[in-house]
Assembly symmetry: C2
Homo-oligomer: 324 residues x 2
């Protein structure tokens, strides 16, 4: 459903020279933005390595059924693992270890992967991250079932974490489905700014929100602190989705091709202003939510994990808008 522009800066082999240049620029930008932090590409972070090794272990132990190849295709397509890394970093800030949080991080990533597959069924996505989408490559039936399989796997991954975390996880899944229904825009005439924000909270920000708050919980945070992490995730996820939409609106899409597309914030604004004004107002909305995310982050314990969350916050939002 989404441009998921983050896929443009892939770790995969399909990266173009132009993108390499953009990426170097972004990294330099980030380096300036979070002075003193350990700056490196996210794929080199230890949190990313934990997530990658967890996913590889899961795929390796799968029976060689009709689903294994699809799971491999979807899970190894160059996604940046942003959500599970956020979870592990939130846990670290709250003094948790990756050992106690990794299974929750994998649950989040599986739920996210399932949503990508089902999104490609909804909007007849042909390409994702420069590769054929799962429905294109493996057929609609197997893609649908692979999504269901990954949601079920996410239940297994989240099973050790107790009632509160598991209930929040289920609720985020319900939000995501409701958000996608809103995105179908069955009443497009009346799809206004508030509908847009409700839609993107549910379909995108809710999973970012619980990535942060479940990480906090598994790290040992109390309810009040976990709520602040939740707010950080909501702000970041909202900014991320608006950026995605701006890039889609401006047709700066990379690696994705679909027959249908989502409503974008600039398009909503264009009902009452010029294209330039609509884009500017959308960029202002990004900045607002990025600032809210950072103002929340700054209240957390100062540590390398927090620095990394600052870096991610820029990386998936304002860094992506450079040069537009």
């Amino acid at each position: 459903m989404l441009v998921r522009a983050i896929g443009r800066i892939g770790v995969n082999l399909h990266i173009s020279p132009l993108e390499r240049a953009q990426r170097a620029k972004r990294t330099a930008y980030s380096r300036g933005a979070i002075r003193g932090a350990i700056c490196m590409d996210i794929e080199d972070w230890e949190e990313n390595r934990y997530v990658e090794s967890g996913i590889n272990a899961f795929i390796t132990q799968m029976e060689d059924s009709g689903l294994k190849k699809i799971v491999e295709h979807v899970c190894n397509a160059g996604g940046k693992r942003i959500r599970p890394i956020i979870l592990l970093l939130a846990s670290e800030i709250c003094s948790g270890s990756y050992r106690q949080s990794l299974s929750a991080a994998l649950a989040i990533e599986m739920m996210h992967s399932a949503s990508l597959i089902h999104d490609d069924l909804l909007d007849q996505g042909l390409m994702r991250r420069n590769l054929p989408s799962a429905p294109e490559k493996f057929g609609h039936s197997r893609a649908l079932l692979c999504g269901d399989y990954l949601i079920a796997k996410s239940i297994e991954f989240i099973s050790p974490y107790g009632e509160k975390v598991i209930r929040d996880f289920g609720k985020a899944g319900m939000d995501m489905a409701e958000g996608e229904v809103l995105d179908l825009r069955l009443d497009e005439e009346n799809f206004e700014e508030r509908n847009y924000f409700e839609c993107i909270y549910k379909k995108t920000a809710s999973l970012f929100a619980i990535s942060a708050s479940i990480g906090a919980y598994t790290g040992g945070a109390d309810e009040v602190l976990a709520q602040r992490f939740n707010f950080f995730g909501t702000s970041l996820g909202t900014a991320y989705q608006i950026v995605d939409d701006i890039l889609e609106f401006l047709e700066v899409v990379g690696g994705k091709e679909s027959k249908f597309t989502s409503e974008t914030l600039p398009h909503v604004y264009m009902k009452s202003m010029s294209k330039e004004e609509a884009v500017k107002k959308s960029v202002d909305a990004v900045k607002l939510h990025v600032n809210a995310a950072k103002e929340t982050l700054i209240t957390f314990k100062s540590c390398p994990a927090r620095d990394k969350l600052f870096q991610i916050t820029d990386y998936i939002t304002i860094d992506m808008l450079e040069g537009i």
Copy 2:
């Protein structure tokens, strides 16, 4: 994907005079088969009332979003609530109360309902239980998302029950998806008896199995006793699916219409014998699994809940084959 012949004996208004007569006959048969039990129609059982009221409470509190109507359509289409009732009865046998088990029962029913919706997408089901299927009535996109929503709701419902139960629940969901992939029969030539039994264990029996064993757990059973309940559920679910297949093979289908159908056991057997022999061998397989279910049941504590499980065992298997 399935005939789900149990829908033929609906509590809905679409029941035909012929079906009413068959149903009276079945009830009389059951009455004879389980002497001493409190015999009545399942829809009058208190366990059914608990499940119905739990589902109604869930639907009532749903926001009036694009999903509520689909959930209502799917959840109130005359299903017999067999799986959640099995769960509550298993819990009762192990001295549990419905209060401690109802949320698990609802989780099972939501997972089942989601699988029906996604099945209708897979096999382009047009009618189910004499009503238009969810994809037919509400469109493919909303039906897909409604299935995802119900799986997520099932996570919320199962959240209070601890790691073991939740892990089993997730594994059954994975089994169901894998079973449906096997049912796509991408290599039909080599789809033999053992493939058939693996397929129906995964796609159907696994959910019956955990209905019984999770009920036992929530009622307080230890692992050994819960395993016996699991075996009971596996046997019953296997017999149920073979019956479903026999009725589909003989075109005694009621209330369901699809463009694609599943492989049936008689069809598998017909590769090496006549039609009559294939049907007889399939009926023998039903009896084998029904007997295994009953031999397990008899080892449980004698009580009205056990009598009801005997009644269900006949009701959804051999009673359905009368008159073929």
